[in-house]
Amino acid sequence: MLKKIEEIFFRSLMLISNLLIVSVLVIILYSIFRKGLGALNWEMLTQRPHGGYYYGKEGGVLNAIVGSLYLSFGATLLATVIGVPVALFMNVYLVKRRKILNFIRFLLDLIWGVPSIVYGAFGFGLMVFLGIKTSLLAGIITVTLFILPIMIRACDEILKTSPLGLLEAALSLGSTKTETSFRVVLIQSFSGIVTAILLSFGRAIGDAASVLFTAGYTDSIPTSLNEPAATLPLSIFFQLSSPVPEVQNRAYASAVILIIIILVISLLSRALSKKYHKNRI
């Protein structure tokens, strides 16, 4: 009897907390879409801001859409190329070095908590040191640094769950540790890695503070890595701070665009990872 009450109690607790989270999400999405959809139109998606855009005249946020995509794809690509091998290294080469491993994990967890504005400041310092201007390149580098610990730790948590027996099986077939990493362990954890990459992409495309000083902001579309680039979060920020109600609504429309980009990318990558998921043991 007591068991049953306990069961009911915890079940309702879980249900309530789930409902709470979902409803908060729904409220946020609803308020964004309610204000944003009205202002969203073809012009928003296909045009750069003209002179009077920020006073409510014609134009769109194509500059920020393109800038954000360039920046977050660039940074995610870089962070994947660096981060996934690092996480594999930790879980294949360092499996027996538990102390070193725990220390690395502890460090990464610490930097994960550093606010992005600090990365922005650091990136700015780096730019001054290297003598580069506010540019797409500087933004990509800064955002890469910002998402790298997230990428490594998220991949690491996934790879940690790959069974030791699989590692042993691959090694005893005579594969080197590198072959084992990329041809077995990575494939086993592929769908989890995709999730980790998505998580990092979400952080990259959604962050404003790290690009404020580094990528800058511009009404034009960058044609090279040396030009500054606009980003959606900053564009939202600037439009929200406008006194013109129409422009404020365009901020919500920009947020809708941002959400849809993330949605499309995550659906695409899920479809991609399905192919490998079925082979998991």
């Binding site: 027996k96 027996g165 494939i187 998991r280």
Partner: protein, 253 residues
């Protein structure tokens, strides 16, 4: 070294942290025979087996002294690449771990990493090894399905085929039948009796009846020590040590 000795272990000690897991192991494993390592749970059978193909390299805080000679080469202190040593030995673990890929690629994996890419030759070898472990008839029409979809018994045979495909000289098997039903176990047992013509087989078990059925040579371990070793007939009919007698009478179970 005895003419027909394939693996010779000399004064092997293994510590994990401060724990003394293997204590002064001295054994000789005959070539082209089926050697069984017997002993109660926790006595160090798996650890001894993993020393032979250096999977103990993955252990945290491990210290190993002594030598393991395979064809006169000390694998613990070799200048040769560990991967080359491991290729000499196929490993079957307690639970099958198929690779996260399809059935075909599980068998072809070892061949591919050693640079064989000719599609026709690969096809032929995959078929050959799957036939050797009596799996071909069950999977020939779904070679491109994930290996994880097979039953545990089929997976274990697949792992055997995958191990044979890299052309080893030795098969190390750690309780290969413990997760299997009686019929699948029998398939594996019979396979081993056939395979010992070509391979040196070292198999861990704690099923006495199984050992009696198939062993040519027996090594009995207890608490990290080798208590007794010898040809199966002698071992089972005329055990010399008291511990062995007690074990054979089922005192530890």
């Amino acid at each position: 070294m005895n003419e027909n000795t394939k693996i010779k272990v000399e004064h092997l000690d293994l510590y994990i942290g401060k724990q003394h897991i293997l204590k002064d192991i001295n054994i000789e494993i005959p070539e082209n025979k089926l050697t069984i390592i017997l002993g109660p749970s926790g006595c160090g059978k798996t650890t001894l087996l993993k020393c032979m193909n250096r999977l103990t390299d993955l252990y945290h805080d491990v210290k190993i002294n002594g030598s393991i000679f395979i064809d006169n080469e000390d694998v613990l202190h070799t200048k040769t690449d560990v991967t080359e040593i491991r290729k000499k030995m196929g490993l079957l673990s307690q639970r099958p771990f198929p690779l996260p890929m399809n059935i075909y690629n599980n068998v072809a994996y070892g061949l591919k990493i050693s640079g064989r890419r000719n599609k026709k030759a690969l096809d032929a070898r995959v078929e050959n090894y799957l036939k050797q472990v009596n799996l071909w008839d069950e999977v020939f029409d779904r070679l491109h399905e994930p290996a994880s979809k097979l039953s545990i018994g089929q997976q274990q045979r697949l792992c055997l085929a995958r191990g044979l495909a890299v052309d080893p000289e030795i098969i190390l098997a750690d309780e290969p039948t413990s997760a299997l039903d009686p019929i699948s176990s029998e398939t594996i047992e019979r396979k081993f009796e056939e395979l010992k013509q070509q391979y040196t087989i070292v198999m861990v078990t704690h099923i006495l009846r199984q050992a009696r059925r198939i062993a040519d040579y027996v090594i009995f371990m207890y608490m990290g020590e080798v208590i007794e070793q010898g040809p199966a007939k002698e071992f089972f009919e005329n055990p010399k040590m008291e511990r062995t007698k007690a074990y054979l009478q089922g005192a530890f179970n």
